[in-house]
Amino acid sequence: MNPLPWLVVLPLMTALVIFLLPTRWRAPGSLLAAVFLSLISIYTLVEVIRLGILVHALAGYAAPLGIRLRADGFTAVMAVLTALVTMFCAVQAAAYLRGKPEEEGFWPLLWFMWAALNSIWLSTDLFNLYVGVELLGLTAVGLVALSGNAQSLAAAMRYLLAALLGSLSYLIGVALIYGELGSLALSDLALHGIGLPTVLIALVMMTFGLVLKTALFPLHGWLPPAHGGALTPVSALLSALVIKASLYILMRLWMTLDVAVLPVYLAWILGLMGSGAVLWGGWMALRQNRLKHLVAYSTVAQVGYLFLFFPLVTGTAATAAVLAWDATMLMLISHALAKAGMFLAAGNLVFAIGSPRIADLAGVCRFRPFSLLSFGVAGVSLAGLPPSGGFNAKWLLLQSTLASGQWVWLPVLFIGGLLSAAYVIKVLGHSFIEGPLRDHFRTPPLTQEFSAFILASASLVLGFVSQVPLTWLRIGGPFAGGG
């Protein structure tokens, strides 16, 4: 049986069913369905490893009017990653949201989000990607707005405006491409290349829209309030997965187009923006005094690393490009795991101390060491310190930088790593304080602490098994040959 349609259909159906269930059934029902969907995602990966690229035309209609789904290694790994992160965020949310008014809205939105993510991973044409991205944006905004206080509503509004502008810009790009080439399939794009000026304009428009949605510096303004102010499991999902979706589309676009004819300056602009993100995001994270906002700015910084991909693959030697691909993939996965773990851990810490401020963490190390450990472990990976997936990614990025001769990125990697270590240490330092102790800390449920720990430690374990996902990711991709 072809698992591809189920990756999209099952979460959509679940969303509708969950919507009809009474509130107290929504969490257990969702967890049950999440197990199924995770199994399907893993099955997809297994099938991709076994058979190579999988394709499915929905309801038997062929493109362009029908919708064609396609899974290569990249798709399958992203689907499994989505399942893994969402699964543990859902486990955490089940405990975290119990009895809160937000519980009612959270679960259906979660499922729509999952459906949108999977449809993005699987889409093969630009317009379906647009629909997926729009659905994703709307559910994400809904999730941010859930808590209903003024701050999160303002954050949601800002996020919505950015998301709408982003997807519209993308849509205009799509319109231009269709008008010029008469096709929307990614594969056709490769054939036509971008010799035509219209296509170049379209590419710029689409890139702008996607970059805005990925919150790349200096277009990141909407992210910190949205990710920092949302409910904990929502923050984790948004930072780990949602911003990756637009990046995924951008990477697909760039890799589909013939790298040799891509405008190098555009890639360099993206790389420079990424460098700015690494430095500015790290600096701002260091200056935050609220824990979750610190983690949110850390996302801004980490997104920057991912954008170094573009200059490193455009017009560079094949070895450098392969290294950059591996590095970015590893960075993407380990960031998703570590950041989800870190947000969940941060949420647990905030719950334990009953305050969002970093300064109130004093003494938490003695009373809630487990949550702090998860935070620290995730921090190790984010700061690119060994042994972790983050470190291996940074190592590969360094190698790619050296191999391509683009030395400009070296100081970025250097300072960025130190900045991220600094903000992690800032949090740890505060929690190590022993003084006139308060000894009243609330105890988060164990499932909450464990979901954070599992995600965080997964990013650490990734440091020892990096080669495995990297091999899968090559299946059917442009770097299938390997290095």
Binding site: L65, F127, V141, R158, L171, L176, Y178, E180, P225
Partner: protein
């Protein structure tokens, strides 16, 4: 200039106009309206560009239909969030401090 190209140019004009409004205005409902104008412009562009002497192409029609549905949904969500925000804060613009 063909009719189709004329539509496309109108679309571009609407997009620019909408973008201008989107950036210049602070009132959230105005920004939303500007966004809708931009949306209409891009739909016109989509339909206008795709028509050529071969006759009517169904694909952009289908896409625009989908796009309109998406735009309506987005607008609805934006209005809900805006109303909540207005009720909680009494403001119709976003605080620029963050």
């Amino acid at each position: 200039m063909s009719v189709a190209a004329f539509y496309a140019w109108i679309g571009v004009g609407l997009c620019v106009l909408g973008l201008f409004g989107f950036i210049m205005h602070r009132h959230l409902v105005r920004r939303l309206l500007a966004f809708n104008i931009m949306g209409s412009g891009s739909f016109l562009l989509l339909v206008g560009l795709a028509q050529d002497d071969r006759g009517v192409d169904p694909v952009p029609q289908a896409m625009v239909l989908t796009g309109i549905v998406v735009a309506v949904a987005s607008t609805a969500l934006a209005l809900v969030v805006f109303r909540r925000w207005f009720r909680v804060s009494g403001e119709s613009i976003l605080p620029e401090d963050v």
